[in-house]
């Protein structure tokens, strides 16, 4: 009988976990629905004319114009068009890109690899450099190295990514020709090689934010009562630091999750500069062209990824902090 106790506790905890997850996912679905409506409205209201985009600056016959208006239901009321799209999307049909005359899923599938690889590479670079620098900065607060790291972060934060991208190209593709100047590469290894400079351009800004967040979090923990108490107990400096770092993990992970969502937006600029076929450039071209099926699908995909990252970050608190675990799972 006594053995049953923890089992029933565990099953209760997992039930709570499943319920929490289910509520969060339901929330995500509502948000996605709202985003889909907002995006549709914004693209609909934005200046520009799909007919002119398709026909270009040249004379056109009234039949061709009527044909296009009919084909893309441009004369239907706004809500009818949105609901048509929504109904199809709910059945998994995201339609055909007006600009590319290719199914939206194919258009996304051919580009998603580049963008995912670029975002992950940039994230790994940013985290691998910024977190250790942030910790070092905090540990050496006020010293010369702290000031140097902070200045570096300021530089990364204030340099616009397109300017940084051009600078990187000039230095590492032109003056010291190590990396290629543009394009996506022919095979996986070549692609990775092509992604290094774009990833650095993308990582600089977000790495700087992460460095600042890490520094602030570690600094706060180093000045906390717990650390003072640990020191008073005579623990070694290494052990004290371990305690501080463990407590600082939650804000750092939150920061890391946040910057991962920034990366997705940053790909638009970087992909254009490096002529990389990815989702960022696809989204940009599609917004300008008023290619609603693609804009809707890419926006929702990005929103869903951000939502999943946020949930994963929240779940990580359970693993990282026993206090959160106890509080959340015993409600």
């Amino acid at each position: 009988m006594p053995q049953k106790q923890p089992n029933s506790r565990e099953s209760r905890m997992s039930r709570v976990l499943v319920r929490t997850l289910a509520i969060r996912l339901a929330g995500v679905l509502v948000i996605l629905l709202l985003i889909s409506f907002l995006t549709y409205s914004l693209v609909y209201l934005a200046p520009g004319d799909l007919v002119k985009n398709l026909l270009g600056n040249r004379p056109s016959s009234p039949e061709a114009i009527a044909q296009i208006r009919e084909q893309y239901h441009l004369d239907d009321p706004f809500f009818v068009r949105y609901l048509d799209w929504l109904w199809a999307a709910l059945r998994g049909d995201f339609g055909v890109s007006i600009r590319l005359q290719q199914s939206v899923t194919d258009a996304i599938a051919s580009r998603i690899g580049n963008t995912v690889a670029l975002a992950l590479l940039a994230f790994v670079m940013a985290a691998a450099v910024a977190i250790p620098l942030g910790i070092l900065s905090a540990a050496r607060e006020g010293r010369r190295s702290d000031r140097a790291f902070s200045a570096l972060a300021l530089l990364g934060l204030s340099a616009p990514s397109f300017a940084l991208a051009i600078l990187l190209l000039y230095v590492f593709a032109m003056l010291i020709p190590i990396f290629p100047a543009y394009g996506g590469g022919a095979d996986p290894l070549d692609t990775l090689w092509h992604l290094v400079l774009p990833a650095v351009a993308l990582a600089a800004g977000i790495g700087a934010i992460l460095q600042r967040i890490t520094r602030a979090a570690v600094l706060r923990e180093l000045q906390s009562d717990a650390v003072t108490f640990a020191r008073s107990r005579g623990l070694s400096e290494n052990e004290v630091r371990r305690i501080a770092l463990r407590s600082a993990l939650i804000p750092i992970v939150t920061g890391a999750g946040l910057i991962l969502t920034f990366i997705v937006g940053g790909t638009i600029v970087v992909e254009t500069v490096f002529a990389l076929p990815g989702l960022g450039s696809l989204l940009q071209e599609s917004v300008l062209f008023k290619d609603l099926p693609v804009v809707q699908a890419v926006t929702l995909l990005v929103a869903a990824v951000i939502a999943v990252i946020t949930i994963a970050v929240d779940l990580s608190y359970l693993a990282l902090d026993p206090r959160v675990r106890t509080k959340e799972l015993n409600r």
């Binding site: 200046p47 520009g48 004319d49 002119k52 985009n53 398709l54 026909l55 270009g56 600056n57 040249r58 004379p59 056109s60 016959s61 039949e63 061709a64 009527a66 044909q67 296009i68 084909q71 600009r99 590319l100 005359q101 290719q102 194919d106 258009a107 051919s110 580009r111 051009i166 190209l169 000039y170 593709a173 032109m174 020709p177 290629p180 100047a181 543009y182 394009g183 996506g184 254009t272 500069v273 490096f274 002529a275 990389l276 076929p277 990815g278 450039s281 696809l282 071209e285 300008l288 062209f289 008023k290």
Partner: protein, 537 residues
């Protein structure tokens, strides 16, 4: 174009001479700090060339997307019944001969060795089918307008196609070239892809010297030479067209040596491109027209005096020579001199076009016209597309001049997609018109800007009848005479204010030569015009 490929064997010797001549001309154009490079055809083959386009193509079929870059790409992959040579004159393409037994009938004889890139012979039915698709508003929204006078197309023999038009239309033959509206493809291929051709999945099938082997929008198109073309085998085995939208990246890629040929070098970067070691820039009039458009539905642009005042406030000479650094020629009319090529050479054409009444730069006159109109010191906006920074420079110059006559002009850059929607929208009274003619037909641009349903909302039965008369004229000179009357009508009423005829600037690595560099070169099978160059001794 491509005279050397029309009769290849007899032209080989001439090609080498032309190459040297072209190289001399280009070195004269290039200027800059480098010593002029004299190039000659080494006769060697080129394994692969990288060509940079300044923007991506979304679809390769010109009936679906018809930007100037689409035409450049399609021209070396697909052919029409006729082609256009370096001087703008018709030459055989898929048809080796044709007759016009009456002004509304055309009989074409297909060449016996015409083959698609998959090896199948071209049947007259394929030509008829391609033409019908090109004229269909649903299948080909971009080209259908140009074939609106098509009445019927029929296969009338093993190698014969007969095409009839609803009325005599002098521009019709131009539209049967790949620079116009007709790119012949195979009916079987079209049906296999349910008409969705030119996409990343279906690619493109034509009869030209290169076939498309790969297409990734926002990335690249790969072309491979074929031995199915009726002309001489091109020297370059593979052409990879990379889409590099950022102008700085494009320049860096060329400086690094990654790019062999670049289209549409921006005017503001021309000097930097000129300095690239081992390369050169060449420029040529590109059949484009830039002018001011006045929407007569919008006040105060309904007043001819206001329009004339604005036209007189634009200093065309200063803009063309200084701001455009000579990469633009003062336009005296909407028609370009090159579009008169079927009847007049360049000098004669320029002389004729200068006879059209001009709005000379005169701020005193502009002030007087504004007072006369009673419009007073009004405010207007002039937008320009982000892809045409030179239009922005010209707009700023105009705004400065207008300030002196009491008109406030705000200048704003907008994305090209947004700009397209402003043309003739009934809200923007003053706009730019920036038009790339592909056919080089003299009525292509002025028909659009002065004829029926023009974006200026200028209504004139006289303009319509002049265009009809021009369309019915059998002799090119008579036709041009009618079109000059149309230009006069436009100028007298200041319907449009022509500003400059554009030039395209291209970059070539010195390892690549181009036999004939003319406004029409890249609107024909240009892959055959490129050769492996070496410095002449």
């Amino acid at each position: 174009m491509s005279r050397s490929s029309t009769r290849p064997r007899t032209r080989r010797a001439l090609a080498a001479a032309l190459a040297t001549a072209a190289a001399l001309v280009l070195s004269a154009c290039a200027g800059g700090p480098k010593a002029p490079t004299e190039l000659t055809d080494s006769g060697k083959e080129i394994d692969s060339l990288t060509v940079a386009f300044p923007g991506s193509l979304s679809n390769l079929y010109i009936g679906q997307e018809s930007g100037i870059l689409n035409y450049y790409l399609a021209s070396t992959v697909q052919e029409g019944l006729v082609g256009v040579d370096a001087a703008g004159k018709f030459v055989p393409a898929l048809a080796d001969t044709w007759e016009t037994p009456d002004p509304t009938t055309y009989v074409f004889h297909l060449r016996d060795d015409a083959k698609f890139q998959n090896g199948d012979a071209v049947a007259p039915e394929d030509v008829v089918f391609s033409l019908e698709q090109a004229a269909d508003a649903k299948a080909s929204p971009s080209t259908s307008y140009y074939l609106s006078s098509l009445e019927s197309a029929e296969a009338t023999g093993d190698r014969e196609v007969t095409i009839k038009t609803t009325k005599p239309d002098a521009a019709f033959l131009s539209n049967l070239s790949s620079a116009g509206a007709l790119v012949v493809t195979q009916q079987k291929y079209w049906e296999e892809h349910q008409g969705k051709v030119g996409t990343a999945d279906s690619l493109l099938l034509g009869t030209g010297p290169y076939r498309v082997t790969e297409f990734q929008p926002d990335s690249h198109v790969t072309l491979e030479r074929v031995d199915t073309w009726w002309g001489e085998l091109p020297k370059t085995k593979q052409i990879r067209v990379d889409f590099i939208p950022d102008e700085n990246t494009r320049l860096l890629a060329a400086q690094k040596g990654d790019v062999d040929v670049a289209f549409n070098v921006p005017i503001n970067q021309a000097q930097q491109w000129e300095k690239i070691g081992g390369g050169r820039i060449q420029s040529v009039n590109d059949l484009s027209y830039v002018g001011l458009l006045f929407d007569q539905k919008v006040k105060p642009f309904d007043d001819p005096d206001v329009r004339a005042a604005i036209a007189a406030s634009f200093d065309r000479t200063a803009v063309a020579e200084k701001l455009l650094r000579g990469y633009g020629e003062v336009a005296t009319s909407i028609m370009t001199p090159e579009s008169l090529g079927k009847a007049y050479d360049g000098d004669a054409a320029r002389e004729l076009l200068a006879q059209v009444p001009q709005h000379e730069f005169d701020l005193d006159k502009a002030k007087q016209l504004l007072e006369q109109s009673g419009a007073g010191g009004f405010t207007a906006e002039l937008t320009y597309p982000n892809t045409g920074p030179q239009l922005g420079i010209a707009a700023q110059a105009l705004a400065e001049n207008l300030k002196q006559v009491g008109v406030t002009l705000t200048v704003r850059e907008i994305p090209i997609e947004e700009w397209l929607a402003t043309i003739g929208d009934g809200e923007h009274g003053l706009s730019f018109m920036w038009y790339f003619s592909t056919t080089g037909d003299p009525a292509e641009i002025n028909g659009y800007l002065v004829g029926p349903d023009n974006p200026n909302h200028f209504e004139s039965t006289e303009a319509a009848s002049l265009l009809d008369a021009a369309g019915a004229a059998a002799d090119p000179k008579d036709r041009i005479a009618k079109l000059l009357e149309l230009e006069k009508l436009s100028a007298d009423n200041t319907v449009n204010a022509p500003l400059w005829w554009g030039k395209t600037i291209m970059y070539f690595s010195n390892e690549v030569g181009v036999h004939e560099f003319s406004p029409y070169t890249f609107l024909g099978p240009w892959g055959t015009q490129l050769y492996a160059a070496e410095a002449a001794e």
